[in-house]
Structure formats: C-alpha cells, structure tokens
Symmetry: C2
Subunit: 378 residues, 2 copies
C-alpha cells in the first residue's frame, strides 16, 4: 500500500518519532530533510551526489517554476519529472502557493484562483486549485501539494481568517479534482493538504481540524518561517501537532535552521524542506559539525584544516577552509559546489542523527548539545 507510514520509535521525553513513509518510489526514513530542486535541479549538485554523497531520499521541485520553464509540454513529452531530470527516488512538488505569495504586486488573488505575471517574461497566467492539481498530475511528482494562500507576517487577523477559509475551499476543489483525475504515469500520487492560519492559535486549531478531517496520507503546515519569532513558530507547531493525527507524517514547509529542525522534530514534525542550506552555501555560509562558518572571513585565509572533518562529503574532508575561501573570493563555480555539498550533507546527516538518537532514546539530551554546537558562529 502506498503512502503508508510506520512509526518505528517514539521518543519518551518529547513528541519526536522516527518512522518510514512508504512511497511507490521507495521508503523515506523520517525525520527527513528534502533538498530544494526548484527547477528540477538542486543548484550546483549532480544527481549522483544527491544519491551517493548527500543520501537524499526525496527532493522538492516547484510547480510554478516548472510550469513556466521548461513548460508542461516538455515535461509531459519527457514522461514526467523523474524521466526529465533522471532522479529516480520520490519528488514532492510545492503547489506554487508560496511562489505566488512571493510575487507581491505581480499577482491578484480571487476566489477563483490567482492571476499572476511570469517573473521570466511578464506573461499573464491563471492558477486555480483545479489547474494546479492538473499541472502536478503532468509533472508527476509523488507527493503533490494542495493550492493554498501563504499569508505574510505580520498579517491582520481578519485577513488571516478569510484567507484560511478560502484555502479550505480551495482544498475541497483540489481534492475533487484529484479524485476525478489520474496520474499520467503508472505510479500513484498523493495529495497533501496544508494548515494555514498565520500565528493565531484559534485559526490554526480550526485549520488543523479541517485538514485532519480530510484523512490525507500526509499533512503539511504552511505559512510559518515567514518572519515570525521562532517561539511563535514552535507554539503554532505544538498546537497543530496536537490536532493533526499522530499516525500520519507531518511536513513543516520552508523550515529552517538546524536548531529549527531539531526543535520541530521534538514537537513531532517528520518532514522539512528549506532553501536555507543551499542558498546560504552559495553565499559562503557553511553549516559544519563544529558550528557556522562564513568562509569568506579573513580568519580562514591560512586555515588548512578540512572544511568539516566529520562530513560525509569527501570534498569537505579533502579540501581545506583556506582553499574553499580562495574559491569564493575568486568567484569560482567550484566554491558554490563544495559549499552546497557541505550544507546539504550536513542537513541530511543531522536528520539521520536525530533518527538514530530517537531510536537510542537519547534524543532530548543530544538535541540540546547539538543545538548549542551547531548554532555557534566560528
């Protein structure tokens, strides 16, 4: 049976759990971090590196971006995203709700859907809950996301309430369309609904109950990590996780720092995605087992120690901080490549370590030490 979830271990002193999400394209061990491959490529990373160095079990791609480029005709003709980019494991596509929210003035949200202008050529497009499901059917990701409005922070309560209700109505339309259609490929897909409600506890509770009522195989939490204090994020997640069924994987969208991951794992989150490790890598900010490094700093100029001696990435053990700094100062492609490998490998090592510590029953004490270590700036 596809998209079933087995919980292997429950932590005794927190709500953390280690599980296995079964998908038609393989098992995903949770907690998991999903590297972001917006346009069907994780920037600067070869597929073989995702498979053999980072050990990614699922990657994320973006409906909005793929719809605009290369366009559905190309992806359809390729036979779906897995044939197109040759990544054989599971893919999750974000529905475009977040991207549309990012477009600011270039979009108009109505009950029908969202009219927007392409960031590439300014052309006009309309996304509706129905069309976004159809597009994701064509793209062929394993896990597809419902079309929602991601509210900004701060957000007036009235706006957040109205938006949440519209997101719920859109959700019904998404599920209708999903049940009426079938994937283009032979492989089953699953549709995941998204809890909204900004930072308002009553709205979040209401939204979580509505999402839970859909009995989807995976439930997602959106609209967090958009600028609110971490404490607000954790409070919302704790509240929501008390309402979403514990038997289904919970996916917290767009989160976050290593500390954010560990705190949310403790609250019962199973899946994460975020551009932070890959985007920061391209700017020379490294997450390592010793702490956070800005590789461009003068202090690394003659530091010939490995980038991260405990990294699974051979490039991080092979190359020195001084060499990587040189690559960044020289604006060399290889700098971004090595840094991205470092950060994504670190994130996947982190969630695997969390799983292992949950299994060993020492997650809570390990978490505190790990947060201190991995949050310090070197």
């Amino acid at each position: 049976m596809s998209f079933t979830f087995d919980i292997d271990y429950n932590d005794k002193s927190s709500d953390a759990r280690a599980g296995r999400l079964h998908t038609p394209r393989g098992v995903i061990h949770t907690p998991i971090f999903m590297p972001v491959g917006t346009v069907a490529t994780v920037k600067g990373i070869h597929m073989s590196e995702l498979e053999e160095v980072i050990h990614a079990e699922i990657i994320l791609a973006n409906t909005y971006h793929l719809y605009l480029r290369p366009g559905l005709e190309v992806i359809d003709k390729a036979g779906g995203i897995h044939s197109f980019n040759s990544w054989k494991k599971p893919v999750l596509t974000d529905s475009g709700g977040f991207q549309v929210y990012s477009l600011g003035k270039n979009r108009k949200i109505t009950e029908k859907g969202v009219e927007f202008r392409s960031h590439i050529d300014g052309s006009k497009h309309l996304f509706t809950p129905e069309s976004v499901v159809d597009i994701q059917r064509t793209i062929g990701a394993d896990i597809i996301m419902a079309f929602d409005e991601c509210t900004p922070y701060p957000c007036p309560k009235d706006y957040a309430r109205d938006s949440m209700h519209m997101t719920h109505r859109w959700l019904d339309r998404c599920f209708d369309q999903f049940s009426k259609t079938d994937t283009d490929s032979a492989v089953q897909q699953c549709l995941a609904p998204i809890v909204q409600g900004s930072v308002y506890a009553d709205l979040r509770a209401q939204s979580a109950a509505y999402i839970a009522s859909k009995e989807a195989p995976i439930n997602a939490i959106g609209g967090l990590s958009v600028g609110e204090p971490d404490e607000d994020m954790y409070a919302m997640v704790e509240l929501i996780n008390g309402i979403l069924p514990a038997s289904k994987p919970r996916y917290l969208m767009g989160v976050g720092t290593p500390a954010n991951l560990l705190e949310n794992i403790a609250l019962g989150i199973d899946m994460f995605d975020c551009v932070l490790p890959s985007r920061n890598a391209r700017h020379g900010m490294l997450y390592t087992h010793e702490g956070i490094i800005n590789i461009k700093n003068e202090k690394w100029k003659k530091d010939f120690s490995p980038i991260d001696a405990r990294s699974n990435a051979d490039t991080s053990r092979r190359h020195s901080k001084a060499y990587l700094r040189h690559l960044f100062l020289s604006k060399e492609l290889l700098g971004a490549q090595i840094a991205t490998l470092q950060n994504l490998t670190f994130y996947l090592q982190l969630v695997r370590a969390a799983r292992e510590k949950i299994k060993q029953g020492v997650f809570d004490t390990w978490k505190e030490k790990a947060i201190t270590q991995y949050s310090q700036r070197l």
Copy 2:
C-alpha cells in the same frame, strides 16, 4: 630519472607519436590534453571528476593569477599547489607571459621584465624572468614555463624579431635562476623553454634552434593560436618540429579545437592546453562524438536522447539534451558543470583515441574521419 620521455609508437604516415613522459608525480601518456585550472581549480569540476571521469593526467595553472590570488604566502604556507588544491598528479604552470600580453594597456614591457597592474585591484607589480622562476618554485608545479613575450597577431616583423631576441635573453636568465635555486618541496621541477617568432618562418627557425640548444626535457611552442589562420599555425609547427629534438616532448601552448589537436598531433606535437573546451562549455557549446552542439538551440527542446552516448562522463549518458538545454536556459550552475564534464571528457577521450590509433598504425585514416565528424555542427 625525472622528466624522461619514452616514445612507444611512431606513426608511419605522419610525424605523430605516442609516448610516456615520466614525472615525479606520475607518468603522462602522450599525446595529452591538459585541462586549464587557472586559479588552481578547473571551473565547475571536482578534483574527483578530473581523476575518475575526465581521467586527466596533468592540469595547468597560472602563475599570474595565483601570484595575485590567493597570493604566494598562502600557497607557500599550504606547502605548494598540490597541497593547496589537493590535486596529486602533475601540474604545469604557465609563466604569466600570455596573461601579461592579454593585459594590453595595463603593462609595460622592458628588458628588465614586465610592469603590470593587477586586474583585481589595479595594484602595480613587476615580473622579471628571475622572479617568475622564484614564484613558480614557490607554487611548486612540476613543469614550470620560462618567462616570454607572447606577440600578438598580426605582428610587424621587426617587433617580432626584437621580441624573440628578448625572449631568448629572458630564457637565459630563467635558466640561470632555475639552476641557482631549488624547489621548496622535495619534488624535482623542470623548466620548459618556449619558441616564439610569430608567423615568420626564419624567426621561428632561429628561435627553435635556440630553444633546442638549451637541451631542456620539454620544449614548448608559444605565440600561436592568437588569431592567425590554421594553415599558418600548422606551417610554423611543422617547421619548428623539424628543428626541436624528436626525442623530447613538444608542447603547443593554447591550442585548440579537436581538429587543431589532431592536425598538430600528426605534426609531432605531444602536449596541449586550451581554455576552449571549458570556456565553450560554459556558453553551451558542446563537443560530442556526433559533432558540435549549441545546447541552447530550440532544436534540442524536446530531444530526450543522451548528451553524448559515447562519453565516459556518466552525466552525459544519464542526462538528455533537453534537460541540459533547460539548465542552460534557466542559468543553472549544473548546466555549466555537466557541459564542462562533457567537453573535457571528450578532449581526453580524443587524445587517448589518437594514442590508440597511433599504436594500431591507423592514425592517419582515423584522423580524417574524426576531424570531419567532430567538426560538423549539428
């Protein structure tokens, strides 16, 4: 004994030969192409890919660039370029003569040497034949190049003659300095002199005789592939190769297209370097076993055949032309990475094929077919 050259096979119908150049850091099988790693990185390529995918046997780095950034202090402290970038096989450093020539107005050439301004920060520097040897001693490349003036094309004969004589006087100073100094590392280095003389047969003959008189383990030809017609290049190479000793490897600097490589191999050239395959890759121009491809062209939009089914690079067999086109149109890092792997792997496969055909005694007929095939634009 270091830097000895064994000729394994001589082609019967041309001057092509297959040899082995012994260096303290390993054997180089000739004919060979040396990927260009200007600032101690081959742009977009991991060291493991140079080793295991491209199968490079030697790479090139640049004295001028490394002197400016990261600077000699860093490379010295690292223990030389091999420790700095972790490439364990041979390295050749260009002396900076060509870069200085490229600086145009920002340099002044006198008998003493060249005063120039850094392209990075405009700071003033002086390169002399002595200092360039010293710098290359510190960098620690296995094969270091004499400091020369690379004349432009076209070049008045008087200028070419005067410049050639100065390059010869500089060469004496380079050898003096080389004999007075020792490498910073325990590993022996060799100094290669460079034939100049523009496209003037009498000057080239005079220069080749002078260079030959130095009895260096490797002899180089500079000042070609600077804009002159291919026929002039081949005529000069043929003339020079008749004068340089056949028992020593001949290195033709800065050349060239696949056709240029094969024609010059037929004339007795053993070593090449060029930015063409890597630079063109970054602009989407691919050298493949079927011909030359501009991957950005519309015609590849829905072409899901492999980039190059006969490539040793798994990325070229795994990914389609349509996917690579998408990466280029999206300005994704991975596009440059996959294209560079394709082109450098193709160049190394090409010189290895040439070696094999020389060994089999079928080089001449294969060469004609290969040039036709690999020069056609698809």
